[in-house]
């Protein structure tokens, strides 16, 4: 189950990068444009709502499209083992961050004293990058020989889980 050509490499890399960038865009609210449906006007980048709600979904998709297309093009220029390692590193880093930051917030909630530093994101980011670097360095060599097409559905699925988690306030009110 291996990718064998640049078209497949571009397609897989585009899907993975898009999923990751799209999640980041929704979390950080980084739209390329803002649409105001009541007045039918479009603003460049993020703008607050005026005369009715503002829509950022189209902008998030465009931001992710540009980022993913650029990264996927870069991916086609990389040797396949490097690309596979990069994706493995990214996936491990994202997973580690999710676990570490969730644990930090859990400890923060349960602690009897105020431990505000546990709510900071950057220590979890640094720890996740270190964990991912170690995991990638010690991964069996055969894992990195060729690009694994199974990423094509597993990372978008992970993105959907994260996006779904962000929506939990709608279901807990």
């Amino acid at each position: 189950m291996m990718a064998t050509d640049r078209v497949a490499t571009f397609a897989i890399a585009f899907t993975l990068c898009y999923a990751a960038i799209y999640v980041a865009c929704t979390e950080l609210n980084v739209p390329l444009l803002t649409y105001h449906p009541v007045i039918g006007e479009i603003d460049f980048l993020w703008k607050p709502s005026r005369q009715g709600p503002a829509m950022y979904w189209y902008g998030w998709m465009l931001t992710a499209f540009i980022g993913a297309a650029a990264l996927a093009f870069g991916a086609t220029l990389m040797p396949e083992p490097w690309l596979q390692r990069t994706i493995l590193f990214g996936a491990l880093a994202a997973l580690s961050y999710l676990v570490l930051y969730s644990l930090a917030l859990l400890v923060y909630d349960k602690a009897s004293v105020e431990l505000e530093f546990l709510t900071w994101r950057w220590p979890s980011v640094v720890a996740a990058v270190i964990a991912a670097a170690i995991g990638t360095a010690f991964a069996p060599a055969q894992w990195s020989e060729r690009l694994w097409p199974g990423w094509t559905w597993s990372i978008p699925l992970g993105a959907l889980v994260v996006l779904g988690y962000y929506l939990t306030p709608y279901f807990t009110r």
Binding site: T4, A8, T15, Y18, P53, W153, F171
Partner: protein, 156 residues
């Protein structure tokens, strides 16, 4: 209002066609026919999967574009009404639909790459997995759209 209702019906019809196509393809791929039979289920599974690829891509794109267009109207009409009625779960599940639709859209390039002719033997596993993933996405969005439409009601 008739204009948006017409678009919504077209969106729904495209979604039905897409649902049928992707379900046929996924079932034929995951549960291939070993021996010919005249039963309905066997004939349902016996379709040539490759012939569905472009139909699925075109139908997905058309359904997505129509949905994205209708979404502009939903945002300041139906959604406001749902919020006033405190149907937060319905609003939340529709928010999920927009993300699921986007994820399905971005899987299409890989889906196309894995289904290119001649079919690559070393993409057989990926082809099955991505097709199933896309089928689940289409089913999820179809059901969510149906639920949301029921919450607000046709023509209401």
């Amino acid at each position: 209002m008739a204009f948006w209702t017409t678009l919504l019906i077209i969106h729904g019809l495209l979604a039905v066609a897409l649902l049928g196509a992707i379900t046929h393809q996924a079932v034929a791929l995951w549960w291939p026919v070993r021996a010919a039979s005249s039963s309905f289920v066997v004939r349902f599974r016996a379709v040539p999967s490759t012939s569905y690829v472009w139909a699925i891509i075109v139908l997905y794109l058309a359904t997505f574009v129509m949905g994205a267009w209708i979404y502009t109207q939903y945002r300041f009409t139906s959604r406001l009404a749902l919020e006033q009625l405190r149907f937060f779960k319905t609003v939340g599940v529709f928010e999920l639909k927009e993300h699921v639709a986007t994820i399905g859209l971005i899987v299409l390039p890989a889906y196309w790459a894995f289904w290119r002719l001649p079919l690559a033997a070393d993409h057989a596993g990926a082809r099955k997995q991505v097709t199933l993933f896309l089928a689940l996405i289409v089913w999820a969005n179809f059901l969510i759209g149906h639920v949301v439409n029921n919450a607000r009601g046709f023509g209401s």
